[in-house]
């Protein structure tokens, strides 16, 4: 089964239309991957759907990079 990190990266590649090699843990959605604020909202919603969780808005605001998404999802999905 794909790891959380692999799934997260796949969603980002699909939604932002970027190359997989660009999706590093440090990459910022808006600064490095060309996302705008609406793309970021869409990504969060895709994470919620994929992992069947609900991410509160105040938590979502702190998810700006690939690494932050993976860390957040690893901790909340495993709980």
């Amino acid at each position: 089964m794909a790891s959380i990190e692999e799934k997260v990266k796949q969603i980002i590649v699909d939604k932002l239309g970027v190359d997989e090699s660009e999706v590093t843990r440090d990459a910022s959605f808006q600064n490095d991957l060309g996302a705008d604020s609406l793309d970021t909202v869409e990504l969060i919603m895709e994470f919620e759907k994929e992992f069947d969780i609900s991410i509160p808005d105040e938590q979502a605001e702190n998810i700006q990079t690939v690494g932050q998404a993976v860390t957040y999802l690893e901790s909340s999905v495993e709980k």
């Binding site: 932002l16 239309g17 609406l38």
Partner: protein, 421 residues
């Protein structure tokens, strides 16, 4: 007032995904109607439409944009790109226009309905869920009917006027007239105009079916759109887009552009009668044609070709012909009339755009596109009218008039003429 010329066109239809392919389809009298693939239409009264086939938007639109946008705005961008390329206006980056002041360039783009598909998808997702709202943040920008104009303006940095016109199946005609006005009145040098529509969806087919507006000839889609035939039973829904680059004559000449045709004149009128039925006496449509000729300074004898609204509905086809006869008098017998919807289906808000392009192509290539699928004469129709049945006719075309009428009683007529200095 400034003269308005056309320097670029772009087309995406069920009978061709580019201007050369569209021209080929019009000349050969090809039908674009096939069984619906875009949703499961098994239980629908109508199970066919004129779908755009084998289309790869990423040939002209960035991959990422292609993912974010509704089909109707992608079609808008795709055809605008072809038209601007033909006009010789695309900069090297294909993102800005060369030899154009961006503050004097704009886009007026039509759609009758907008991104209905995107709205339907999101409603289904919500209805299939547990009640938690997870509407996609792009739903509204995908759905709203002005986004064709918005995206074209953003893509090419057009900073003059940009907005949408919405008048159902006449939307494209009103867009073209508004864009031409901006040039005539000296507010802009270059305007991109046209329309796009992509609503081969459950809601649109189902809704038009309930109005009994669509053909239900499921056993023979290719012969279903048959304007003026005695056995016509409704229109065939089409999808696609058409784009035209309008320019002031002096701007086009100053940069040595190839001029495809000139916009002679145009007019709009209203039936003030019924939400969907045409006025039985044809007054509204007649006034649109008469005023367009007046605007163009042309008499009925000077018109060579009328591209009709002719949707293949029992009432609409005869009402329009009646109006044409009222407007043109005896001169009507010397000109050719045809409905290219017999081939492309009815593109609603984009109909006037692709039919304007058919008029431009008729002038450029001196031919009358046919009204295909004629089998049985309708006794209600004057047999002396030249309805150009089944086969294209080669003949000089100097002046062509395009009619479009929309639910709500909106009428628009536009006249194109061969350019002469």
């Amino acid at each position: 007032m400034k003269r308005v010329v056309i320097t670029g066109i772009g087309a995406l239809t069920a009978i061709g995904n580019s201007v050369p392919e569209y021209l080929e389809g019009l000349r050969n009298g090809r039908s674009g109607a096939t069984p619906i693939t875009q949703f499961d239409a098994d239980k629908f009264k109508t199970q066919f439409a004129c779908e755009v086939q084998d289309w790869d938007p990423t040939q002209r639109v960035d991959k990422r944009e292609a993912r974010r946008q509704d089909r109707y705005t992608l079609m808008a961008l795709y055809t605008a790109d072809e038209a601007l390329e033909m006009a010789g206006l695309l900069g090297e980056d294909r993102q800005t226009l060369a030899s154009v002041d961006p503050d004097r360039a704009g886009c007026i783009w039509a759609s009758g309905i907008g991104g209905l598909r995107s709205l339907e998808e999101q409603i289904e997702i919500f209805d299939g869920g547990d009640g938690t709202p997870r509407y996609n943040p792009f739903m509204i920008p995908r759905m709203i009917a002005n986004m064709g104009a918005g995206h074209i303006s953003m893509r090419y940095n057009l900073r003059g006027p940009s907005y949408a016109t919405v008048s159902a199946c006449a939307s494209g005609g009103h867009a073209l007239a508004s864009a031409a006005d901006d040039i005539r009145l000296g507010r802009a040098d270059v305007m991109v105009t046209g329309g796009s529509e992509a609503v081969i969806t459950k809601v649109a087919i189902g809704g038009f079916n309930s109005m009994k507006a669509l053909s239900t000839r499921n056993d023979n889609p290719a012969e279903a759109s048959r304007p003026y035939d005695a056995d016509r039973d409704g229109f065939v829904l089409g999808e696609g887009a058409g784009a035209l680059v309008l320019e002031s004559l002096e701007h086009a000449q100053a940069r040595g552009a190839t001029i495809l045709a000139e916009i002679g004149g145009y007019a709009a009128s209203s039936d003030a009668y019924h939400i969907s039925a045409p006025h039985p006496d044809g007054t509204g449509a007649k006034m649109a044609m008469l005023n367009a000729m007046k605007d163009a300074g042309l008499s009925p004898e000077q018109v060579d070709y009328i591209n009709t609204h002719g949707t293949s509905t029992p009432l609409g086809d005869t009402a329009e012909l009646k109006a044409i006869q009222l407007a043109f008098g005896e001169a009507v017998y010397d000109l050719n009339i045809s409905s290219t919807k017999s081939m492309t289906g009815h593109l609603l808000g984009a109909a006037a755009a692709i039919e304007s392009i058919a008029c431009v192509l008729a002038i450029q290539h001196n031919f009358i596109p046919p009204t295909i699928n004629h089998f049985t004469d309708d006794p209600e129709i004057d047999p002396r009218l030249n309805l150009t049945f089944n086969k294209a006719v080669e003949k000089p075309v100097r002046v062509a008039l395009s009619n479009t009428f929309g639910f709500g009683g909106h009428n628009s007529a536009t006249i194109f003429k061969r350019f002469a200095d």
